[in-house]
Protein backbone atom coordinates (compact mmCIF):
# COMPACT_ATOMS: atom_id res chain seq x y z
CA UNK A 1 0.00 0.00 0.00
CA UNK A 2 1.34 3.44 -0.88
CA UNK A 3 1.43 6.21 1.74
CA UNK A 4 1.12 9.98 1.55
CA UNK A 5 2.85 12.63 3.68
CA UNK A 6 -0.22 12.96 5.93
CA UNK A 7 -0.40 9.28 6.89
CA UNK A 8 3.38 9.05 7.45
CA UNK A 9 3.47 12.14 9.70
CA UNK A 10 0.39 10.98 11.63
CA UNK A 11 2.15 7.68 12.31
CA UNK A 12 5.31 9.58 13.35
CA UNK A 13 3.26 11.73 15.77
CA UNK A 14 1.34 8.82 17.34
CA UNK A 15 4.24 6.43 17.81
CA UNK A 16 6.60 9.26 18.83
CA UNK A 17 4.19 10.31 21.60
CA UNK A 18 3.98 6.70 22.79
CA UNK A 19 7.77 6.37 22.88
CA UNK A 20 8.19 9.66 24.80
CA UNK A 21 5.57 8.44 27.30
CA UNK A 22 7.51 5.21 27.90
CA UNK A 23 10.82 7.10 28.27
CA UNK A 24 9.17 9.56 30.70
CA UNK A 25 7.88 6.68 32.83
CA UNK A 26 11.34 5.09 32.93
CA UNK A 27 12.87 8.52 33.65
CA UNK A 28 10.38 9.06 36.51
CA UNK A 29 11.45 5.76 38.08
CA UNK A 30 15.15 6.63 37.77
CA UNK A 31 14.44 10.19 38.97
CA UNK A 32 12.65 8.89 42.08
CA UNK A 33 15.60 6.64 42.92
CA UNK A 34 18.14 9.43 42.37
CA UNK A 35 16.39 12.52 43.73
CA UNK A 36 13.03 11.48 45.25
CA UNK A 37 9.85 13.39 44.36
CA UNK A 38 11.65 16.33 42.63
CA UNK A 39 13.28 13.71 40.38
CA UNK A 40 9.84 12.46 39.27
CA UNK A 41 8.71 16.03 38.55
CA UNK A 42 11.95 16.69 36.65
CA UNK A 43 11.41 13.61 34.47
CA UNK A 44 7.81 14.65 33.80
CA UNK A 45 8.94 18.17 32.84
CA UNK A 46 11.65 16.74 30.58
CA UNK A 47 9.23 14.32 28.93
CA UNK A 48 6.64 17.03 28.34
CA UNK A 49 9.23 19.34 26.81
CA UNK A 50 10.58 16.57 24.55
CA UNK A 51 7.03 15.70 23.43
CA UNK A 52 6.28 19.36 22.67
CA UNK A 53 9.58 19.79 20.86
CA UNK A 54 9.44 16.70 18.63
CA UNK A 55 5.66 16.91 18.19
CA UNK A 56 5.70 20.52 16.97
CA UNK A 57 8.16 19.70 14.17
CA UNK A 58 6.10 16.76 12.93
CA UNK A 59 2.92 18.85 13.26
CA UNK A 60 4.45 21.73 11.28
CA UNK A 61 5.37 19.31 8.45
CA UNK A 62 1.86 17.78 8.59
CA UNK A 63 0.16 21.19 8.41
CA UNK A 64 2.67 22.69 5.96
CA UNK A 65 2.32 19.84 3.45
CA UNK A 66 -1.25 21.02 2.72
CA UNK A 67 -0.15 24.43 1.43
CA UNK A 68 2.32 23.79 -1.39
CA UNK A 69 6.03 24.65 -1.31
CA UNK A 70 5.82 28.22 0.04
CA UNK A 71 3.34 27.33 2.76
CA UNK A 72 5.35 24.26 3.68
CA UNK A 73 8.58 26.19 4.16
CA UNK A 74 6.73 28.97 6.01
CA UNK A 75 5.08 26.49 8.41
CA UNK A 76 8.24 24.44 9.08
CA UNK A 77 10.69 27.35 9.44
CA UNK A 78 8.21 29.66 11.18
CA UNK A 79 7.34 26.82 13.56
CA UNK A 80 11.06 26.25 14.13
CA UNK A 81 11.80 29.83 15.13
CA UNK A 82 8.63 30.02 17.29
CA UNK A 83 9.63 26.78 19.02
CA UNK A 84 13.17 27.99 19.74
CA UNK A 85 11.91 31.21 21.34
CA UNK A 86 9.30 29.25 23.34
CA UNK A 87 11.94 26.84 24.61
CA UNK A 88 14.37 29.60 25.49
CA UNK A 89 11.66 31.12 27.71
CA UNK A 90 10.62 27.75 29.22
CA UNK A 91 14.23 26.74 29.97
CA UNK A 92 14.94 30.14 31.46
CA UNK A 93 11.94 29.77 33.82
CA UNK A 94 12.72 26.13 34.59
CA UNK A 95 16.36 26.80 35.45
CA UNK A 96 15.18 29.28 38.13
CA UNK A 97 12.45 27.01 39.52
CA UNK A 98 12.91 26.30 43.22
CA UNK A 99 11.20 22.89 43.14
CA UNK A 100 13.93 21.67 40.79
CA UNK A 101 16.65 20.62 43.21
CA UNK A 102 20.34 20.32 42.28
CA UNK A 103 20.08 16.53 42.26
CA UNK A 104 16.98 16.58 40.05
CA UNK A 105 18.36 18.98 37.41
CA UNK A 106 20.33 16.38 35.39
CA UNK A 107 17.15 14.23 35.22
CA UNK A 108 15.51 16.94 33.04
CA UNK A 109 18.50 16.94 30.70
CA UNK A 110 18.83 13.17 30.39
CA UNK A 111 15.07 12.63 29.92
CA UNK A 112 15.02 15.22 27.12
CA UNK A 113 18.11 13.75 25.42
CA UNK A 114 16.85 10.14 25.70
CA UNK A 115 13.37 11.07 24.42
CA UNK A 116 14.67 13.18 21.51
CA UNK A 117 17.23 10.58 20.41
CA UNK A 118 14.63 7.80 20.77
CA UNK A 119 12.08 9.65 18.63
CA UNK A 120 14.78 10.43 16.05
CA UNK A 121 15.54 6.71 15.65
CA UNK A 122 11.81 5.92 15.49
CA UNK A 123 11.16 8.70 12.92
CA UNK A 124 14.04 7.49 10.74
CA UNK A 125 12.74 3.90 10.84
CA UNK A 126 9.14 4.94 10.06
CA UNK A 127 10.19 7.14 7.15
CA UNK A 128 12.59 4.54 5.78
CA UNK A 129 9.72 2.02 5.82
CA UNK A 130 7.15 4.42 4.28
CA UNK A 131 6.31 3.96 0.61
CA UNK A 132 5.71 7.44 -0.75
CA UNK A 133 4.29 7.77 -4.22
CA UNK A 134 5.60 10.52 -6.56
CA UNK A 135 2.69 12.97 -7.07
CA UNK A 136 2.66 16.35 -8.82
CA UNK A 137 1.56 18.88 -6.17
CA UNK A 138 -0.29 22.05 -6.98
CA UNK A 139 1.28 25.21 -5.51
CA UNK A 140 -2.14 26.87 -5.08
Amino acid sequence: MLDDVKSVMQRVLKLGALLVLVITLVGSGVGFLVAGNPGVLAALAGGLLALLFTGLTALSVLIGSRFGLTGFMGAVLGGWVFKMVLFLVIFSLLSRAEWLTTQARPIVFFTIVAAVLGTLILDSLLIAKARLTPVVQSDK
Binding site: D4, V5, V8, M9, V12, F53, T54, T57, A58, V61, G64, S65, L69, F72, M73, V76, L77, W80, K83, M84, F87, L88, F91, S95, T102, R105, P106, V108, F109, I112, V113, V116, L117, T119, L120, D123, S124, I127, A130, L132, T133, P134, V135, V136, Q137
Partner: protein, 85 residues
Protein backbone atom coordinates in the same frame (compact mmCIF):
# COMPACT_ATOMS: atom_id res chain seq x y z
CA UNK B 1 50.76 56.77 19.46
CA UNK B 2 47.04 57.44 19.48
CA UNK B 3 46.42 53.97 18.11
CA UNK B 4 48.36 52.39 20.98
CA UNK B 5 46.38 54.43 23.50
CA UNK B 6 43.12 53.41 21.83
CA UNK B 7 44.17 49.75 21.86
CA UNK B 8 45.06 49.96 25.55
CA UNK B 9 41.69 51.58 26.34
CA UNK B 10 39.83 48.90 24.35
CA UNK B 11 41.75 46.12 26.11
CA UNK B 12 40.78 47.61 29.49
CA UNK B 13 37.15 47.79 28.43
CA UNK B 14 37.12 44.20 27.11
CA UNK B 15 38.65 42.84 30.32
CA UNK B 16 35.98 44.73 32.26
CA UNK B 17 33.07 42.97 30.50
CA UNK B 18 31.21 40.75 32.93
CA UNK B 19 27.93 38.85 32.97
CA UNK B 20 26.45 35.45 32.24
CA UNK B 21 28.64 33.33 29.95
CA UNK B 22 25.53 31.36 28.99
CA UNK B 23 24.60 34.22 26.65
CA UNK B 24 27.78 33.67 24.66
CA UNK B 25 27.20 29.91 24.79
CA UNK B 26 23.72 30.30 23.32
CA UNK B 27 25.09 32.54 20.57
CA UNK B 28 27.71 29.97 19.61
CA UNK B 29 25.21 27.09 19.89
CA UNK B 30 22.87 28.72 17.34
CA UNK B 31 25.51 28.88 14.58
CA UNK B 32 25.62 25.14 13.82
CA UNK B 33 21.85 24.45 13.69
CA UNK B 34 21.27 27.69 11.73
CA UNK B 35 23.74 26.66 9.03
CA UNK B 36 22.36 23.10 9.04
CA UNK B 37 18.72 24.14 8.63
CA UNK B 38 19.68 26.67 5.95
CA UNK B 39 21.46 24.00 3.92
CA UNK B 40 18.68 21.41 4.32
CA UNK B 41 15.98 23.89 3.33
CA UNK B 42 17.88 25.32 0.35
CA UNK B 43 18.63 21.86 -1.02
CA UNK B 44 15.04 20.71 -0.52
CA UNK B 45 13.67 23.75 -2.39
CA UNK B 46 16.19 23.16 -5.18
CA UNK B 47 15.25 19.48 -5.41
CA UNK B 48 11.49 20.19 -5.44
CA UNK B 49 12.03 22.83 -8.16
CA UNK B 50 13.87 20.22 -10.24
CA UNK B 51 11.42 17.37 -9.59
CA UNK B 52 8.06 18.63 -8.25
CA UNK B 53 6.57 15.11 -8.33
CA UNK B 54 9.04 14.08 -5.59
CA UNK B 55 7.80 16.83 -3.21
CA UNK B 56 6.16 14.38 -0.77
CA UNK B 57 9.22 12.21 -0.37
CA UNK B 58 11.53 15.22 -0.12
CA UNK B 59 9.33 16.83 2.54
CA UNK B 60 9.49 13.81 4.86
CA UNK B 61 13.23 13.40 4.18
CA UNK B 62 13.67 17.08 5.07
CA UNK B 63 11.74 16.40 8.28
CA UNK B 64 14.40 13.86 9.33
CA UNK B 65 17.17 16.38 8.55
CA UNK B 66 15.46 19.18 10.48
CA UNK B 67 14.69 16.82 13.40
CA UNK B 68 18.36 15.77 13.64
CA UNK B 69 19.58 19.37 13.52
CA UNK B 70 17.07 20.61 16.08
CA UNK B 71 18.02 17.76 18.42
CA UNK B 72 21.47 19.37 18.52
CA UNK B 73 19.91 22.78 19.19
CA UNK B 74 17.70 21.34 21.95
CA UNK B 75 20.64 19.65 23.65
CA UNK B 76 22.46 23.00 23.48
CA UNK B 77 19.50 24.75 25.13
CA UNK B 78 19.18 22.09 27.84
CA UNK B 79 22.86 22.04 28.89
CA UNK B 80 22.37 24.58 31.76
CA UNK B 81 20.72 21.67 33.62
CA UNK B 82 23.99 19.77 33.78
CA UNK B 83 26.58 22.57 33.56
CA UNK B 84 26.03 24.46 36.79
CA UNK B 85 28.05 27.54 37.64
Amino acid sequence: MQIIQLAAETATQVSAISGNLGVLGYGIATIGPALGVGLVVSKTIESIARQPEMAGRLQVTMFIGVALIEALALIGLATPFIFTA
